[in-house]
Structure formats: C-alpha cells, structure tokens
C-alpha cells in the first residue's frame, strides 16, 4: 500500500511562497543488510521525487539508501495560479505513488 501524507495550503495569495510537506510510506531497505542466514536483503528504496505545478516541474529530488524509511520531504514554491500540484514518487521494484493537490490562488 502506497500512502502519502500531504500538508499544503488549499488557498494562497498570488505570488506567495507556499510550503508543501510530504511523507510517503516506504520501507527504504538499504540493500546493505543481511538476513540471519547471511542472505543479502535486496535494495528497495524510493529513488525519485518530482513535483509538477500545472504541468511544470517545480521541485525534484533524488533519494539514496541513507535516507530514512517513510521519507519526509518539504519544499517551497511560488503560488502562481490556481490548479493542481502533482507529487510523484518512483523507486525500486516499480514503486510508484502519485498524489494530486488542488490549490486556489486569489
């Protein structure tokens, strides 16, 4: 189950800097661990995060094995116009999660 918690303002004044906080459910298995019988545990991490605002990319992050489980990312952007901010996480083993948030700019 891919789940995410998003905190973003539903309304903003035009030109205002808004903060978007995201938390996605993921184990972030590093690939450096071994089981009790010595088998390596395969890496399973989120590798990419992108945020697009009305189709335009406003934030991107690459994630690596040292990042904690359930990665918490916050970023800022400028509220230019009403529309949708799409948040997308992709990772190992075909992991994909997408969340859309509506924002009204006045």
């Amino acid at each position: 189950m891919a789940r995410a918690l998003i905190n973003a303002p539903a309304k903003a004044a035009r030109g205002a800097v808004i903060e978007i906080k995201t938390l996605v459910s993921h184990v972030m298995e590093t690939g450096f661990r071994y089981t009790q019988t010595g088998e390596p545990v395969a890496r399973d991490i989120v590798t990419n995060f992108t945020a697009t605002y009305n189709g335009e990319e406003v934030f991107r992050a690459r994630l690596y094995p040292a990042i904690a489980a359930n990665p918490y990312l916050t970023f800022h952007t400028v509220a230019t116009e009403s529309g949708t901010i799409e948040l997308k996480w992709t990772g190992d083993n075909g992991f994909e999660a997408t969340e859309r948030i509506r924002i009204t700019v006045e």
């Binding site: 189950m1 789940r3 918690l5 998003i6 905190n7 906080k21 938390l23 459910s25 184990v27 972030m28 904690a68 489980a69 359930n70 918490y72």
Partner: protein, 257 residues
C-alpha cells in the same frame, strides 16, 4: 539459623528500600516533554506524524471484509471514530470468557478468529499494528483508565516482573524507570516509562511498534530473555504500566526518538 534469617530480612529490606520508589502521581511525566522541539512537532502534526500512515492503513482494513464470515470490523462496530473512542485507554482489559487480561492486539485477534473466522494477524505485522493504531488514535488526549478490580492479579503480576532483577546485568525495570528516572544514561534522559503513546513510531526502528516490542527492547538491553509476543508476562507488564500511568493522557500514535 536465626542469624541467616536476620541477614535475609536485612537483605530483603535493603532491596525493597532500593526499589520501593514508585513515582508520586504528581511527578509523573510523559517522555514527550523530554523530546526535542522537532520530534514533538512531528508527533503533533497529523501530516508530519509517520504513525498516521498506519492509521490510514487501519482505516482501510477496518472496512475490508475478512474471513469465512465475510464481515469487516465496521460491520459490527460501525465507525471507529465513535465506537472505538476511549477503548485503547482502558486496555489491557479483563476478558470474562477467558478469565484473564488481554491486550488490545490480542482483542483484535480474538475478533478476527471468533467473529470474522479469519486467521490471526501476526504480532508486529503491518496489518495488526495498523488496526491497533487506528483504535488507539481514537483515544488520543483521553486519560488512561485502570479501574477494573478484576485486573488486579495481572497488575500485581506485572508489578512483580517490574520490580524483580533479571538478566545478566541483574537489573530490574524499577531501577531505571522508578529510581533513576530523569537521570542521564549516555546522551538520553532516563524516561519514567509510561506507555501513553503505543503503538508508536520510533525513529530508531524507522517503523511503528507495539509496547511489547519496546519491552522486548528493554529486556534484551538487560541481557534477559524476552518473552514471546502475546505472552501473559507482557500483558501483565502492560497492565501494571497502564495502572502506573492511570490518568495520564493518551498520545497514540506517538513519535519517540
């Protein structure tokens, strides 16, 4: 003979004096207050608290039919927000049909096997933690209640485990969490050990975990043999700890370092 008896009496007195320091009710404090501002903020914000990911999973599971009876939790209990309000604050509870105390996770599994006719959920599995987190969330801010007289034997058994020295380090729970509460152990403040926020998200674990997992953690630290999950000893300890924390506010799902 008399001398040996007298010595034993002295030894017993010394031990009971050393670990008689139950915390006065007014001096009890949640470990929440000893955490950094960032960790507290993480617990307080519903979109910052990773424990809420389990609560969301729990909400989905609550509505999912399971077992031969093909019934969901919601089928009997309706909305968790109303029917489960305050429930976690009074667990472990006494189960009259079994004649023993049961913990919340055990209660969920009894519901699963008896009502839903589904297999038990494994202790510390994502599903069981999710359902426990959903139920515990409904008691947030409510005081812990431990008033059932029938829980007394479990509470007393739990107190005995809490007070007895065990493991290769020959330590009792009470030596840290009663006698040396508030002192420093390496970089951290020794907590009073009140189970106000379980199941909780430990940054060290990078996941949600139950009180029993935390107790297991302590037992291993004492170089004592941990009990198996769901063992009566754990439930007794839980019952004692909840009695000890009676009246304190529930924080589930809490965040701890």
């Amino acid at each position: 003979m008399r001398r040996a008896a007298a010595l034993t009496a002295v030894a017993v007195l010394a031990v009971s004096a050393a670990i008689s320091g139950e915390i006065p009710l007014s001096e009890r404090r949640s470990t929440y207050l000893d955490m950094g501002a960032e960790t507290r903020a993480m617990q307080d914000g519903d979109t910052d608290n990773p424990g809420m990911l389990w609560v969301l999973d729990g909400e989905a599971l609550w509505r999912t039919t399971a077992g031969k009876a093909a019934i969901a939790c919601a089928g009997c209990h309706g909305e968790a927000e109303t029917s489960m309000k305050g429930v976690a604050a009074r667990y472990p509870a006494f189960d009259p049909t079994r004649g023993t105390a049961i913990d919340l996770a055990g209660r969920i599994n009894i519901c699963r096997t008896e009502r839903q006719q589904a297999p038990e959920l494994k202790r510390e599995s994502r599903e069981l933690l999710a359902l426990t987190a959903l139920i515990a969330r409904q008691s947030r801010g409510m005081p812990i209640i431990s008033e059932d007289e029938r829980l007394k034997p479990a509470i007393e058994a739990g107190r005995a485990i809490f007070m007895i020295r065990q493991g290769q380090l020959d330590l009792a729970c009470a030596q840290c969490h009663d006698d040396n509460r508030g002192s420093r152990l390496a970089g951290i403040t020794v907590p009073q050990g009140h189970p106000t926020g379980y199941p909780l998200y430990r940054l060290e674990w990078q996941t949600l975990g139950s009180l029993q997992r935390r107790l297991r953690n302590c037992l291993i630290g004492m170089r004592a043999e941990p009990y198996t999950y769901g063992a009566p000893e754990y439930i007794a300890l839980e019952a004692y700890l909840m009695w000890r924390a009676r009246g304190m506010a529930m924080e589930s799902p809490a965040v701890r370092p």
